[in-house]
Amino acid sequence: MKSTCEFLVIGAGAAGSAAAWRLAQHGAQVTVLDQGGWVAPDSSPSLTIGWERARHRTHHPNPNIRKNSWDYPIDDSDSDISPMLYNAIGGSTIHWGAHFPRLKPEDFRVKSLDGVGEDWPLSYFDLEPYFEINDQMMGVAGHDGDPAYPRKPHRTMPALPLGRGAERIAAAYDRLNYHWWPVDAAIMTADHGDRLACNNCGPCDLGCPRKSRASTDVTYWSDIHASKIRLVTEARVSRILSTSGRVTGVTYFDAEGNAQEIQAENVVLAGNGVGTARLLLLSAADWCPTGLANSSDQVGRNLMFHPTALVTGIFPEPMDGFMGPFACSIYSQEFYESNTDRGFVRGFQAQTIRSDGPLGSALGTYTLPVAWGAGHHEDFYSQFGHTASITVTSEDLPESHNRVTLSPTLKDRFGIAAPKISYRVSENARKILDFGIEINRGVLKEAGATDIRVVDLVTSAGFHLLGTARMGSDPKTSVVNEFGQSHDCSNLYIVDGGVFVTVGALNPTSTIQAIALRAADSMVGAQILESAR
């Protein structure tokens, strides 16, 4: 017998976990399917001597390298940037860095303010109450008063310490009169329940045995409301079933590889900007031959990644950058806004990142590798423990040719077509990166770096998978409305980063989750919370 449910959520990552939790809190009957399973925090390789090797093999953020059985392959041969993600309960938050900025108010009005992209059908202030619920659920350390934002609620946990590298960079920013602030981090700096304060160990991307770094398996899924959710792990959804204008359920392969079907009154998609687009395209039917929810032809299009460059300073003194959460210390939004004199629109976020252990330093995970040959050891010792880096995260504007399609040849282990990514860095983004590189060369020089190395495009920095099912008021140009509801199927919702209309230049997860929580309220007809402003 086919089982049935009220809300079927596909994907238990950042967005799906938040949406399912909120639906369950409202008393809805919720089933969640994810193709991955549980990853025990204390199974992290950071507890083992081979931790760095694991980071570059079995725990690599690129599914094409990691190739575990929960993964699906991605054809990225036609893309300047490779997508990074994780498939598990917790989704990509199993691997993420937990840098937790929100998009800024102006990011939702790029068309009106800067004449590019599109405006969103909702505003920062519409999301504000949901940012706050999400901050409480994830746990955020930070420092009040960042002038780059409208006032946020008081951060009850202190910001993370900067570390030597960021201290030098912060002092340089001060001398140059540039903005900087300690980041909001979804990391505990004080004990709370079974989540212990961070002990500064470094490789958050390998998982956090102390549960200090938030991942939705240890945040949303450990809340009492989540216990009411039926969770099916290792369930790869192969197709969303539909009749004209309504979805009716899904088919999936279970852990044993058996085909299963489940009926649903509503389907909520949270498979991320790649997984969701793939599934919508896989779900084409007679009444929607180009893909489900795709009458606008926007499904899969407008993929945005946030192209990133990395500028690394080598300092004569030790910077001890292998200590501390690698992605979280300080950021600068000095060059975030448009300034037409610069020859491009919009700008970049400069995020200081710490460095690596010996292997990561040698390989140059995101930086340049250590030279091989006669000068190898000298180059290694000049870099290891002596670097601090600044990422230039560029605004990425929607372009319809940057997209996810289905690969005609590549398939996953169940025989389902894999996604294919076609993506080129735009001329505008390239100009932003070049400008940002020069600015940050200056910053690192001012900070005392004696050698500066640049990666002008970090091809492995495809962490943010956005825009492939964008929201909007017009069904002709968008896939869903401001509540993630499909224009074509009123009982189909999309709540992941695919719905982003534009992406600013900031890490997206806080905004993704706020959107998911707000969408969940709308799904059950609950009152939509309003900003106190």
Binding site: P150, A374, G385
Partner: protein
């Protein structure tokens, strides 16, 4: 190992390749001294296609292992220009195995003070955040645009 398992090459050539990438220096052993060819081949097979590697190895002279370091470097650079993905894979495998080796980690620890133990469970002390550092940033006017 058979020549087939060595992608048509010899142990001597593979050892020479490792020696070229990471030569010995002081108390730091060369990659050839710490990496077993078995382990290298296992790692390489996962990183790149065997056919490409055979082609890559064909770019090297037969007496590659007999050349001096600078001659080997220039031969390897040339092969790497033709098939960069093979040189990258070789570098990736060699660095990965070398810098995971306990003997090498011990030397690095002696030279730098870096602790060769896993990051967890001990971690490093979490210093308190010093808000006095923000003396200048807090003086800035709001820098976000209200679109309304």
């Amino acid at each position: 190992m058979t020549s087939d398992q060595l992608f048509g090459s010899t142990v001597a050539t593979w050892k020479a390749l490792l020696e070229t990438l990471i030569p010995e220096e002081g108390n730091l052993q060369s990659a050839a001294a710490v990496i077993s060819i078995d382990e290298l081949m296992g790692d390489l097979s996962a990183l790149s296609s065997e056919a490409k590697f055979r082609e890559f190895l064909r770019q090297l002279p037969e007496d590659f292992s007999l050349l001096d370091q600078s001659q080997r470097e220039s031969n390897l650079r040339h092969a790497g220009l033709l098939l960069p993905e093979c040189l990258n894979a070789l570098l990736n495998a060699a660095y990965t195995i070398y810098y995971s080796h306990p003997d090498i980690l011990r030397v690095i620890a002696e030279r730098t003070g870096y602790s060769p133990t896993p990051p967890q469970p001990n971690g490093y002390a979490l210093a308190p955040f010093d808000e006095r550092m923000l003396y200048k940033s807090i003086q800035r006017a709001p820098m976000w645009r209200d679109p309304h």
